[in-house]
């Protein structure tokens, strides 16, 4: 079976950078052609748009922490399951269970898929869902 240590290292580097707010390392993890798909809108987001979103998150959230990381490397990528805790500017701390799937080339993420349950948005953001 595959022992993709470099793949696992990329995964750790990416999520550790998000936790630290290290935008430069984060940006370097994405291949130039990278696109990111999210289950809440089922749309592919461009590299630039996704990085801008992450940059804003780094700037506005007090803390981001990925817990219970369960990572598996496969041929051409990795899948990480985790619980993301975010402490927001108003000190609300919410969490979301996420499955993040990344396809890689040359040590960078070229395509990612993020699955989470939008139905848990209120517990994640602290903002009641619109009825």
């Amino acid at each position: 079976m595959h022992k993709e240590w470099d793949t696992l290292a990329l995964c750790d580097r990416f999520f550790d950078a998000l936790e630290r707010g290290d935008y430069e390392t984060l940006e370097a993890c994405y291949a130039p052609e990278c696109v990111v798909w999210h289950s809440h809108d089922m749309q592919y987001q461009s590299r630039a748009s996704n990085l801008a979103m992450l940059k804003q998150g780094i700037a506005t959230h007090k803390k981001m922490h990925f817990t219970d990381r369960r990572v598996n490397a496969f041929e051409g990528g990795f899948v990480q399951q985790h619980r993301l805790y975010v402490t927001r500017a108003n000190d609300y701390t919410g969490y979301m269970d996420v499955c993040f799937i990344a396809y890689i080339r040359d040590g960078m993420i070229k395509r990612a898929y993020e699955y989470f349950d939008t139905g848990k948005a209120e517990q994640f953001t602290g903002v009641p869902l619109a009825s």
Partner: protein
């Protein structure tokens, strides 16, 4: 289990759930299997898993796991899929989900299933048994 066996197990499991084949699901899963889903955020045992599969099938005309993208790793697999649900009234819904699974000795020992609860009528998948 080698890569081919794990991949085949994934397909057989998804086929069994599609067909609500309780006997096949029971053969393909460990008696101690834990099934977690993002909608309920709870773990279920095999009896509950079998009941959900049966109830889910009863709630729709048919369902199918399409567009399967399966990747294998040590002792498990990850699958991205499109779950197509056709209701009794002929309406169709597609749900895009992902599962990860652990396998041992020809059976699945753990499944984590990620779906977006806002994208479907929960009773189509989680109808009371």
């Amino acid at each position: 289990m080698d890569e081919h066996e794990i991949r085949a197990l994934c397909h057989r499991y998804m086929d069994a759930v599609e067909q609500a084949d309780g006997d096949a699901i029971a053969r393909l899963t460990s008696p101690n299997i834990r099934h977690w889903d993002s909608v309920t955020a709870e773990e279920h045992d095999r009896d509950a898993l079998l009941a959900m599969a049966k109830a889910g099938a009863a709630a729709v005309e048919r369902r199918s796991y399409d567009s399967r993208q399966i990747h294998v790793f040590d002792h498990g697999f990850m699958a991205q899929y499109e779950l197509v649900l056709v209701g009794r009234d002929g309406s169709s819904t597609s749900l895009w989900g992902a599962i990860t699974a652990r396998c041992f000795d020809g059976q699945i020992t753990r499944i984590d299933d990620y779906l977006d609860a806002t994208k479907f009528d929960r009773t189509l998948l989680f109808a009371a048994a």
